[in-house]
Amino acid sequence: MRVVLLKAAATALTVAAAAAAIVHVNGNLKTAGAPLHPSVLGGSVVAVGGDGKLHLTPSVRSGAASAVTSTYAS
């Protein structure tokens, strides 16, 4: 009888902890619509012009300043 009571108590505690975790997570979403994988991996198209498309990851910023030099095929 004592063993059964212990098992029942442990099960109840587990279920209660899981329920509390679900409530906590759903109540603390920073961005409910955020994708599981950020777009970092694929980059994003930031400009389409001329004859091509520019993709940048967040580690490269575009700027409004005049370019001091350029990369080109040589």
Binding site: L41, G42, G43, V46, A47, G49, G50, D51, G52, K53, L54, H55, L56, T57, S59, V60, R61, S62, G63, A64, A65, S66, A67, V68, T69, S70, T71, Y72, A73, S74
Partner: protein, 275 residues
């Protein structure tokens, strides 16, 4: 602090070196640094280190620390590009008529002699200050040296500088306004700091031989000038050498596969269509 810069011709290209707060004489030093490397690593200079290595294919020869570094970089580029960036296409270069600096004009092509090279590790061995090329093969460092040298010169020149060697560049420091070095990439300007960029294309160093359009970008899978549906690819990566490797790889892969390769390896990229 002032922004100083110098432009000069070397490595078969226009070079552009910029710096903020550089000590007096540093730009002249940088110019001499590049010119000296051109003389040592050009296949067109008969007395260069590279020419000596090519001329003694089949035998072990002593190489400088820098040439050893370049050769090891070529081997890494071959590995990271799945064999597409291949410094051992000298035979194909000669076969298409790229036998001398193109300002002197190409020579007649003999395309029947253009064949896929063996994998670079089967051609080139590098070990502790020595290197050996397989007999009958040769190396051209034109596709790897500019980025590799830009990375190194930027590290030695100063705390806030940009080294652009023929379009392969490395931006060191925070740039003239402290927000990064503004660099044209495609139609946009990007701000680079501790990052490299490079462009690979098939429209420069291109010519016509008896009605056949030729260019210098050899596809090692065929041993002939690459056929691709991309006109040019510009890449931002952690170093200029990496950017150069991934730009060339993407160009050779073509528009169907290039985005996946660049998404895995690049920080930014521009895919340009043929004109």
């Amino acid at each position: 602090m002032t922004l100083d810069e110098v432009r000069f011709e070397s490595l078969g290209s226009t070079c552009h070196v910029l710096g903020v707060g550089l000590e007096r004489g540093r730009l002249a030093w940088a110019t001499a640094w590049v010119v000296e490397r051109h003389d040592r690593f050009s296949r067109f200079e008969p007395d260069s280190e590279l020419s000596r290595l090519n001329a003694t294919a089949g035998s072990w020869v002593d190489v400088s620390t820098e040439l050893e570094g370049l050769l090891r970089a070529a081997l890494r580029a071959h590995g990271s590009s799945g064999g597409l960036v291949h410094a051992g296409v000298l035979g194909s270069m000669l076969a298409i008529g790229y036998t001398r600096p193109l300002r002197l004009g190409p020579t007649a092509a003999t395309l029947a002699a253009a064949a896929p090279p063996p994998p670079l590790p089967d051609m080139l061995e590098v070990a502790g200050g020595r290197a050996r090329l397989r007999s009958g093969t040769g190396i051209d460092l034109g596709g790897i040296a500019k980025g590799w040298l830009a990375d190194r010169l930027a590290g030695e020149l100063g705390d806030n500088c940009l080294v652009n060697l023929g379009g392969d560049l490395f931006a060191h420091g925070r740039g003239p306004d402290g927000e990064g070095w503004p660099v044209a990439l495609g139609t946009e300007t990007v701000l680079l700091s501790e990052q490299g960029a490079a462009t690979s294309g098939i429209h420069k160093r291109a010519w016509n031989d008896g009605g056949q359009a030729l260019h210098h970008l050899i596809d090692p899978r065929t041993g002939r000038p690459a056929r691709t549906d991309l006109g040019q690819v510009s890449v931002v990566a952690a170093t200029a050498a990496d950017a150069e490797v991934h730009a060339k790889t993407a160009l050779l892969l073509g528009s169907a596969l290039a985005p996946a390769h660049l998404a895995a390896h690049a920080l930014g990229w521009w895919l340009g269509a043929p004109p």
